[in-house]
């Protein structure tokens, strides 16, 4: 059998629908992961029980395979009376695991801030909330932007696993096409390159954003 990508042409709409679903579930998951990660990251820098709790959470979600987390949420929760459909289970799973990884990044970003800068804000009379919102978070996120980009790229790659709970995102759609066409090699080779292209595009975008947001840290740059 020859390698022939044209066999995919009649199935482009199915694949495109999958791409859209992947984009939706990932976009929501990334937003959720960002919010959760920021909160957890901040909590993890504190000394009391919120810090311990946040660090424990991160430990658990980083050391249990994502498939198992997804199965637990999709098959396990209904047993205790919580029913969530595949799509929102996917969003939740991506949020929970992405939040754990993002929180580590945000936490290092916060710890890397020069203490003197925060002290300057404190003695000027800014409230704790103002300091967090106007000083700590913006500085930490600028540092964290690039590693956060990798976290989000990995989240997109992980989303393929959601095909295992019947969600027909792009990997799920591709399985259908592979079964229909009997051309699994073409289908999966194409899919693999497509994912790589997507992650490449995302990291390019993050790189550009990083340079833009951090212009001011480059000595001698334009004023």
């Amino acid at each position: 059998m020859r390698f022939d990508l044209t066999v995919l042409l009649p199935h482009l709409d199915a694949l495109l629908a999958g791409v859209l679903l992947t984009a939706e579930v990932c976009a929501l998951g990334i937003v959720g992961a960002f919010a959760l990660g920021t909160g957890l990251g901040l909590a993890a820098t504190t000394h009391g029980w919120p810090g311990r709790l946040a660090r424990f959470y991160v430990d658990v979600f980083r050391n249990v395979p994502f498939v198992v987390q997804v199965f637990f949420l999709y098959y396990g929760l209904p047993e205790v009376g919580v029913y969530i459909d595949a799509f929102w289970t996917g969003v939740m799973a991506l949020t929970l695991v992405g939040g754990a990884y993002a929180s580590d990044v945000v936490r290092s970003g916060i710890l890397a801030i020069e203490p003197g800068v925060v002290e300057a804000a404190r003695v000027s009379g800014l409230s704790r909330l103002s300091i967090f919102r106007r000083i700590v978070l913006p500085i930490a996120l600028r540092t964290a932007l690039q590693p956060l980009g990798s976290v989000f790229v990995n989240l997109v790659l992980s989303s393929s696993i959601l095909s295992m709970i019947t969600l027909d995102e792009v990997t799920g759609a591709a399985r259908g096409v592979a079964a229909e066409t009997y051309r699994p090699f073409e289908v999966y080779a194409f899919l693999l390159v497509a994912y790589a292209g997507l992650t490449y595009a995302v990291s390019l975008g993050v790189g550009a954003l990083h340079r833009r947001l951090n212009r001011h840290l480059v000595a001698g740059g334009r004023a």
């Binding site: 059998m1 395979p65 198992v68 199965f71 637990f72 098959y75 696993i161 591709a174 899919l191």
Partner: protein, 223 residues
């Protein structure tokens, strides 16, 4: 017929699954370590076409979902070569190659950290390439790469959980089977998650132990 209680046999099933997961991890990680380091050395010596091809291929593997890679190997390659692959072989090939991709990028960073001036110095003293790698590059790059490699190992252990989807009887598959029999997914996936967690923590401890021992013997890089 349905037995809802857990039995001793279930414990054995899980233990067996854990054994398969750990075995698969150990084998593919070792192989990936060798392949990835070899590719990095090829790149380091700027072997013309081979280096670039390897780099592109491994970049593709690093930036696409393991699940899709698994499908490509297990379903796609047999369709191309008209020769079936067993699940274990497909899993072994996929995970080794995937590990190699990540090892490659860690090793490249490690080799770059050693610095070309040291290499040139060694050349002046008449070291052959093989001696150079063995006595100068490898020990220093290894010391540099150790931390990232421990993190990678924990990750790749979790990635093995995907092979259940092509029918390998690993820990996740054992959970699947147990789940079908007992219909207690909440408990089953919690247990499976706990086993993975314990394995990952064990691996982390082991990794840090080795890291300390190696660091004690290898002199640190000059920074």
């Amino acid at each position: 017929m349905r037995h809802t209680g857990f039995t001793v046999h279930d414990g054995l099933l899980l233990a067996q699954g854990l054994g398969v997961s750990l075995g698969l991890f150990a084998g593919t990680f070792a192989l990936g370590l060798v392949l990835g380091s070899a590719a990095a050395v090829v790149r380091h010596f700027r072997v013309p076409a081979l280096g670039a091809a390897l780099h592109a291929g491994l970049e593709l593997l690093r930036n696409s979902p393991v699940l899709v890679q698994l499908f490509l190997v297990f379903f796609g390659i047999p369709a191309l070569i008209h020769q079936p692959l067993t699940p274990v072989v497909a899993a072994g090939v996929t995970l080794s190659a995937n590990t190699a991709a990540f090892v490659y990028f860690i090793a490249v960073a490690g080799l770059d950290a050693v610095g070309r001036d040291q290499v040139e110095a060694a050349r002046v003293y008449g070291f052959s390439r093989a001696q150079l790698v063995r006595h100068i590059l490898a020990p220093q790059a290894a010391a540099f790469a150790l931390g990232p490699l421990v993190g990678l190992a924990v990750n790749q252990l979790q990635v093995t959980s995907l092979v259940s989807v092509i029918g390998v009887m690993d820990l996740t598959k054992a959970g699947d089977i147990l789940n079908l029999r007992t219909l207690r997914p909440f408990a089953v996936w919690t247990m499976v998650g706990a086993l993975y967690f314990a394995a990952a923590k064990g691996l982390t401890l082991l990794g840090h132990h080795w890291e300390r021992r190696l660091r004690a013997h290898a002199p640190p890089l000059g920074f």
